[in-house]
Symmetry: C2
Subunit: 340 residues, 2 copies
């Protein structure tokens, strides 16, 4: 089959690789109908994260089940399914508490690679959620967004305790940040402040429910958010970048007793214990347990209540994956969808 | 009046200082009936924290109101009262959300000094809680414990989300850690694991409700706690020390999706963002909003349901404060009570 392989920084190729097969009885193999390039794929692309030799890429996917192992009971050939970037059994105590991204049997889909024609999905019964009915092309894009960026933004908003009567600040205007705005809106938040300097992303943030836009950054950005929240700071802040500056901004923008949900993969972040102590905010983050939210997200999408797929502003055939990476690296695109 | 003054590391004296007076209309002046030496008083005593010139010490107290300013409505002369180490208005949004230790008008009592015959209490209506009835000597000691160590341990347990069905690990066997064990027990926790190597403190932990004692520290301590919790780690961990090692131990002992409540004042703690990201635990800590819990704690003490005062294992007249500091510094005493 054809698959995206990264050979080194900046060197993405589409090549012939072996077809995936059932290895464990709990596996499924799916024909990938849509996949995409993640912001986190850019870290090795930019050489900031080391990789050892060529690697298949991708961890977001929707597709149709081709084949299942003898231990799979809840999905079967022909089912349209969506899963997240972590395969999980969905039965261990950690999964049942809603943290499927840290399942005791977790398999990172990035180590398998879903930017390909087919993909093996471990722990298929726990990992995959069936899509009811026939999605429109727009809904199919939105389901793909649910696989990672929507689910991650949603977790960020939930971890930040967004909800009724709350003021929510969102640091980061990439796909995850924008969809955290959408989540905060769906959760009933009163005021949603998006931090962004890009007019097109500001527009999308407003479309998703942002009530205010803050262009300032650092200490000025924090001061502006305090101004917008009667001097107290936001009840809830979502951090969707992963740098020292963005974490400091998120913690600084949050009132004592408030919550920070951080979903940007940390790169070089160091938190000073004493500063954190006197900030007196709740901090929760990590790889998002997207599986917790998937059934609800699929329902919201298939009933036409949310359209997260609009974050995809570039669609390419799988063969042109390299251009997808380039466009995101150069910030010409927010998020590139690939069709095998 | 007589008051404890620290002149420099190891140099604690009891001296004549000016009597306190009403400064703001919202002030009260109390006659201190009992005060004590805090673990945090040992930081400057040991020279680890710098201080500029001689300073009055102490921030824990119970006492009888002598005088109130014209703006005070809810307490009056003759009332027996207890307050926490942060004076607060108890009316601002931060206070009303339960984070009185970060009140927008907060005054740190340590900057005033309660190891003295009398003390000025700012924002008396918000800060002080009246004690109903006449406490026994044992209850009076327990009320003093409520002023800081009990309230701080309680916050640690609440911040760690201790409660029904939960496994709770407590890192630190000082007065705060021991009283976090008591709080975890009162909150209905199923399993309470105290980390301690001191037989007398282990005994007190068991008396307060610990079901297990772990003597190992560091990676071994973490492994032992995982063993005791079916390999998952504790649902809830209270950190009551404030060092790099104790924080790492607390985070490592907690399962993904679990909660760490940290109440040890951080000294030199640095948290690695990526490690924290993949730990996927909730972190909440800071100066404890003791005021949130005081009414309930006073009730539990006056109705004889808890006896936190047993953590005081040394009682001295105020004049012998220096010996109280020495005994705690040399770990001959867990907590020294001073009677003016």
């Amino acid at each position: 089959m054809r698959a995206v392989v990264m050979h080194g920084p900046g060197d993405v190729r589409v090549e012939d690789v072996a077809d995936p097969a059932i290895i464990e009885p709990t596996d499924a193999v799916i024909r990938v109908t849509a996949t995409c390039v993640c912001g986190s794929d850019l870290w090795p692309y930019r050489g900031i994260e080391q990789q050892d030799g060529p690697a298949q890429m991708g961890h977001e996917y929707i597709g149709v089940v081709e084949q299942v192992g003898p231990g799979v009971r809840y999905v079967g050939a022909g089912d349209l399914v969506v899963g997240s970037f972590v395969a999980c059994d969905n039965t261990c105590e950690i999964c049942r508490s809603g943290f499927q991204s840290r399942c005791v049997h977790q398999v990172m889909m990035g180590a398998i690679g879903t930017q390909a024609e087919y993909a093996r999905i471990p722990l298929a019964d726990g990992t995959l959620v069936k899509v009811p009915g026939e999605p429109t092309p727009e809904q199919a894009r939105s389901l793909l967004a649910a696989s990672d960026v929507l689910g991650t933004g949603w977790f960020g908003a939930v971890a930040a305790d967004a909800g009724l009567g709350k003021s929510v600040a969102v640091v980061g205007d990439g796909a995850v940040g924008l969809l955290a705005v959408m989540a905060a809106e769906r959760l009933g938040s009163e005021r949603i402040i998006a931090m962004s300097r890009h007019p097109d992303r500001q527009a999308l943030a407003r479309r998703f429910g942002a009530t205010d836009i803050v262009e300032e950054r650092g200490a000025e950005g924090v001061a502006r958010i305090r101004e917008l929240t009667d001097g107290y700071g936001a009840h809830s802040t979502v951090e969707a970048v992963g740098t020292q500056e963005s974490m400091a901004q998120a913690i600084g923008a949050t009132r004592p007793g408030g919550h920070v949900g951080y979903v940007g993969v940390s790169h070089g972040v160091e938190l000073d214990g004493l500063e954190l102590f006197f900030a007196t905010v709740s901090l929760l983050g990590g790889p998002a347990p997207v599986r917790r939210f998937l059934p609800e997200l699929v329902d919201l999408i298939m009933s036409g209540r949310i359209d997260p797929g609009v974050v995809f502003d570039l669609t390419l055939p799988l063969e042109e994956a390299a251009e997808g990476y380039r466009a995101m690296d150069e910030r010409r695109a927010t998020k590139a969808l690939l069709t095998p």
